[in-house]
């Protein structure tokens, strides 16, 4: 059983929604959708599998933020993209005590989007200057704000025809 298959079955056993994706199209092997209470367990599982954390970021969509975690492995080509919906107040449990590398990623995300990572020990501004701690520069303007459906490329995960592809390009330029 390949690592991809093994990981998917592990995650599915944890009742995490995980599926194999076409790497050549979306740049990662496994796509994962998380509920906010699954984030920490998922991170723990990834750590036990020997994955490293590549980045943490957020996508500003309505009604709540989507937080993106990407993991990869040195030994094998297996990149995992996990998306979690933040709670209504824009908070999500931290994984900085599981992956210490997530500490600054989460601070950066907090700087730019105002996502608050509950349980994070030190959410001071990291990249912005102190005066700008309330700026949140990467938030979208009201008129450009889309829902998750609006930024999802549905055609990516299943093989589609050319017609659907052209329809896909008509979507918002923002990609997943």
């Amino acid at each position: 059983m390949s690592l991809t298959q093994e990981l998917i079955s592990t995650l599915t056993a944890m009742q995490v929604e995980a599926g194999e994706t076409d790497y050549s199209k979306c740049g990662y092997h496994i796509g994962v959708h998380l509920k906010d209470d699954q984030v920490r367990n998922f991170a723990q599982a990834m750590l036990e599998k020997g994955f490293y954390l590549d980045f943490v970021t957020a996508i500003h969509v309505t009604p709540q933020f989507q937080i993106v975690y990407q993991f990869a492995k040195f030994e094998e080509a297996c990149r995992v993209n996990a998306k979690a919906l933040a709670l209504d107040d824009g908070s999500i449990p931290t994984i900085s005590d599981i992956y210490h590398g997530a500490d600054w990623h989460e601070r950066e995300t907090h700087d730019f989007y105002g996502v608050s990572f509950t349980g994070h020990q030190d959410l001071r501004t990291l990249l912005l200057c102190d005066e700008d701690s309330d700026l949140k520069p990467l938030l979208k303007k009201e008129e450009k704000l889309l829902s998750i459906e609006g930024i999802t490329r549905k055609a990516v995960e299943n093989k589609d025809t050319k017609a659907e592809k052209t329809e896909k390009t008509n979507h918002s330029p923002e990609q997943e």
């Binding site: 200057c129 700008d132 700026l135």
Partner: protein, 198 residues
Amino acid sequence: MGEENKIIKQVDAFACQLREESDQGAIEHEGALLSQLLLTDKVLKVCQANSLWPLTFGLACCAIEMMATGMARIDISRYGAEVFRPSARQCDLLIISGTVNKKMAPAVVTLYEQMPAPKWVIAMGNCAISGGPFAVEENYNVIEGVDKIIPVDVYIPGCPPRPEALIEGILKLQEKIAGVRHPWPQRKMPENPEVIKI
């Protein structure tokens, strides 16, 4: 439009505030020397122009060109400006080589203030001149032009400028200090171009 303008104004207002704070503490000097002897004055200015000591201070990709200018191939020492010093206290030339952002701006002002007068500033590259590619609506943290926070003597356009451009900037600065383009006699090129054929 409204909101972005507000953000830009915030950056500008921040820069203005820094400049004002800095100006308050600055001692106005006329560039006059202790003795107003014409010849002494001239000699000292020629010496200053031919011995600019830049600060080792790189901010972005322009700094790579600045380093190249200091190396053997371009060799800024031909014009006496090769003594890059890591301390602002020992410098009289500040080359702003790159993007100055809001978090960096107070540090740039501090470095400028630490330099002993007489001192000069070169704004190298489009970012230092006017914000360059960052001068857009969405800009939230780039100071659009370092001259908003410290006075600038020479502007070198380019993205980044080539080492030759930096040398030209140094020559312009020498011209500004000493009043003539080559304050020190330059070696003439040989009349027979065959001699320098490589």
